[in-house]
């Protein structure tokens, strides 16, 4: 089950594996507001309205329970809160879900039954689930389904967020989140902090830090005045771009370390040119399947451009700290000494085994091909997995008569994020940014394909040519975030932030389209 993921275009080689399964008779269900190229391979496509995932998931949960398809033995053995969940989803009838999501009740019923009855089932999602103001609620609504059916902690049965960047998993694993040390060890846990304090010979602030959205809030309040940006282009990638630009432009001091002179770098006081991590430096990245893999120097960086590690070590030296040789393997061994789940991953083993999936506790541990197997151990190891009761809540940017169209965003096959990297090769597939709408809306708003229209949200407005996409239903529009020079999509998007994850609701903007006078 692919939920809010267009893996055919965003994770093409993963989709190869998926298609191998489909060829062998696996069933594929795609849940997405757009009938994407992934949905075209599906046994069933559930084209729900943007931001109605919880209604759909809760209704599927209710149906699974009502039809007697819940995995009672697993629920009793390894979960908590089932009775509350059962009571909670009682009001999410198929009829209600049909009304809220736009998906026919029978399609919801069939999908719920197929998922519950499958011997093995994977539930994968991407940003269609997480780029919402209630992202974490969306995720736990899906996890409920896995707990309900026992599709977790077993070979080829599980939940799987498909990671969109080659090391976004590794970044989190290494503690590039506000409240964790490497290995997801909590900053506010005294015992853990004491371990790191002993290793580094200094006190560590017991307070957790800020995530990206929190930093922008702190800039707004004048609490954050200095910023060091490594390999990010937030001026283009942040929701409500004009606000992001204003806040970063108002900083007292900003350093940007990047491969390119990005829009963000243009606002910086100091720009430090960095080498390309994947082919000009040594190190590791961690893929979506938790596999730590080596990256290696394949070509020399251009003159004057330095490895991130060297730059950071030099900065430390200027601040009076001597950290030793700026070598990726030394840093990795430090990680291994402090993060138990990376303990067994020496460079030697990573080479020999072609990467290792964490956790890997010691040098005799093979790594783990799936997680949560403990939930099936008898007796149960560790605490029970909790059901969560979450309510359907519409996107923050409400539709009304002034802004009647739902705009959602995503990637194209040949492009990536703000196109800093992918914009540099000559792709025959590349076409300029278009506002994709349904042919029916073309008729309704009296616009032709190729005609430039003004697209406005409550925050800003852009001019974009129209393209008809029969994969979109009336009332739904689509833009990428790839071509900000041409169409600054994030002038439109809302920075309504999920309080738990800090993610903005890129997937749901209320817009209107109007004839553009320049035509």
């Amino acid at each position: 089950m692919l939920w809010g993921s267009n893996a055919r275009e965003t994770h093409p080689i993963f989709f190869h594996h998926l298609l191998q399964g489909v060829r062998k008779g696996a069933k594929l269900y795609v849940i997405d507001p757009r009938r994407t190229t992934s949905a075209q391979w599906a046994d069933a496509w559930l084209g729900l309205d943007v931001g109605t995932d919880i209604s759909l998931a809760n209704a599927m949960g209710r149906e699974i329970i009502a039809a007697g398809l819940a995995h009672k033995r697993f629920i009793e053995h390894a979960t908590s809160g089932f009775e509350e969940y059962k009571k909670h989803v009682e009001k999410y009838t198929l009829e209600r879900a049909e009304r809220e999501t736009g998906v026919p009740a029978e399609a919801i019923r069939q999908t719920a039954h197929a998922y519950a009855k499958a011997e093995r089932a994977e539930l994968c999602w991407t940003l269609g689930i997480t780029e919402h103001h209630n992202a974490v609620d969306n995720v736990v609504a899906l996890i409920n389904l896995a707990l309900l059916t026992g599709h977790i902690g077993r070979y080829a049965s599980g939940v799987n967020p498909l990671r969109g960047q080659n090391n976004v998993q590794g970044g989190g694993d290494m503690g590039a989140i506000p409240d964790r040390f490497p290995g997801f060890q909590h900053v506010e846990n005294d015992e853990i902090r004491a371990k790191f304090e002993a290793a580094y010979g200094r006190k560590i602030d017991p307070q957790k830090g800020l995530h990206l959205s929190g930093m922008f809030e702190a800039m707004e309040h004048g609490e954050l005045t200095c910023l060091y940006v490594l390999g990010e282009n937030p001026v283009d990638s942040e929701a409500d771009r004009n606000r992001a630009k204003r806040l970063m432009g108002g900083l007292e001091f900003m350093v940007v370390q990047d491969l390119f002179y990005t829009e963000t770098a243009a606002l910086a006081d100091v720009v430090l040119p960095a080498a390309a991590g994947w082919c000009e430096t040594e190190g590791t990245v961690t893929s979506s399947e938790r596999r730590v893999q080596r990256v290696r120097v394949a070509v020399p960086p251009p003159p004057g451009v330095r490895d991130d590690i060297e730059i950071v070590y030099d900065l430390a030296r200027r601040m009076g700290h001597e950290w030793g040789p700026p070598k990726a393997e030394c840093i990795w061994d430090e990680v291994r000494s402090l993060s138990p789940m990376h303990g067994g991953m020496s460079y030697k083993r990573l080479e020999e085994m072609g990467g290792i999936q964490w956790p890997c506790y010691d040098e005799s541990h093979p790594g783990e091909i799936f997680l949560h197997g403990r939930l099936w151990a008898d007796p149960l190891i560790g605490p029970r997995a909790p059901f969560s009761c979450v309510e359907q809540e519409p996107p923050a940017d409400r539709l009304d008569k002034d802004y009647p169209i739902r705009l959602t965003t995503g990637r194209r096959l040949d492009s990536y994020n703000t196109n800093v990297q992918s914009g540099k090769f000559s792709s025959p597939l590349r076409r300029e940014e278009t506002l994709d709408i349904s042919p029916e809306d073309g008729t309704k708003y009296n616009v032709r394909e190729g005609e430039k229209v003004r697209v406005s949200s409550r925050r800003g407005s852009v001019i974009a040519p129209v393209r008809f996409d029969p994969g979109l239903r009336p009332g739904l529009a689509f833009l990428t975030g790839h071509f900000h020079d041409q169409v600054a999509t994030n002038d439109l998007t809302i920075d309504a932030v999920d309080p738990k994850s800090g993610t903005s609701e890129f997937k749901a903007t209320a817009i209107r389209i109007e004839k553009h006078s320049a035509n």
Binding site: V285, P340, L413, L429
Partner: protein
């Protein structure tokens, strides 16, 4: 994460080390190849058995990651009791088979196959060909200059691939890689019959009007250089392509989170092409357009502007 997030488990409880279900047990099949007994798991091919014995069998249309299509016939072997020679790459090993891989009949057949191919097709960029030709004494010239060929100008209709069908031996690998064996895009197929059979997009439209998504997986499997990265083609045309000056380094793709292994081919400090190892469990040699061609950003603007 904030206060609202569930408190993490510290330390994360360790469960049993998860394992994949054991592979299905396969009965062993015993056969004789060139007088040597060999035992292979049921379902193995004659080629698998020969390789197990260290017997080097030539192949052109065969690739480990693709379903065998039996078209080039260069791997044929002599099977006792069989009227015709059989293709080692697809014929399953059966108990009691007796096989000769280097008999006069096999050698003659392989020589003829190589001669027919090389007399009608430009094999100058097929890396395996010179070795095979020498081994079997193939002399494509003996058919004379009047032998019909598939010579034609290369098709250059985009900035990423060149398709030079004067080098195509019709091995079908590209069709398979574009189709069910990997990419499932179906941009190309075999069109025409007999000598006119050729690989084509629908209605022979330029690649840019076809279903092609430029993953380059067809180039990855092409055994003759008929399909070639434009970067390599241009360097060959300019006389600057020099494999002896190239290094190959495995690293990880900088784009999505799948973790595809990229083999970076470097010459004189620049990336000249990207491939992926066939035996890699994530990619099986396949990549997408970004992995295959998206490396340009480290090459443009060298030195990169500050």
């Amino acid at each position: 994460m904030s206060d609202l997030a569930p408190k993490p488990l510290i330390p994360v409880p360790r469960g049993p080390v998860p394992e994949a279900p054991p592979p299905r047990k396969r009965a062993m099949v015993e056969l004789t190849i060139d007088g040597q007994k060999v035992s292979v798991p049921e379902g193995s091919t004659i080629l698998d058995a020969a390789r197990q014995l260290g017997i080097d069998t030539p192949t052109l249309c065969f690739l480990e990651t693709l379903a065998p299509v039996n078209v080039c016939r260069v791997c044929v072997v002599e099977l006792e009791g069989s009227r015709v020679l059989v293709p080692a790459c697809s014929r399953k090993a059966e108990p009691g088979m007796s096989i000769k891989t280097d008999s006069e009949r096999v050698r003659l057949s392989r020589r003829m196959v190589l001669e027919f191919l090389a007399s009608s097709v430009d094999v100058s960029t097929a890396p395996q060909f010179p070795g095979y030709a020498k081994r079997y004494g193939a002399d494509p010239e003996r058919f004379g200059s009047k032998a019909e060929t598939v010579a034609q100008p290369p098709k250059i209709d985009n900035d990423l691939y060149v398709r030079d069908y004067s080098k195509c031996i019709l091995c079908y690998k590209c069709v398979e890689a574009c189709g069910v064996d990997a990419q499932n895009t179906f941009a190309i197929a075999v069109a025409g019959r007999g000598f006119d059979a050729h690989i084509s997009t629908e209605f022979d439209t330029p690649l840019t009007n076809s279903a092609c998504v430029y993953c380059g997986n067809c180039i990855g499997v092409c055994p003759t250089g008929a399909l070639m990265f434009k970067s390599e083609y241009d360097m060959r045309q300019a006389g600057t392509w020099n494999e002896s000056r190239q290094t190959k380094t495995d690293t990880i793709c900088p784009y999505c989170g799948v973790g595809c292994v990229l083999t970076v081919h470097e010459q004189d400090g620049s990336i000249v092409k990207i491939t992926s190892p066939l035996d890699q469990s994530v990619t099986h040699g396949n990549l997408c357009i970004k992995g295959r061609f998206g490396y340009r950003f480290v090459e443009v603007e060298k030195p990169r502007k500050k």
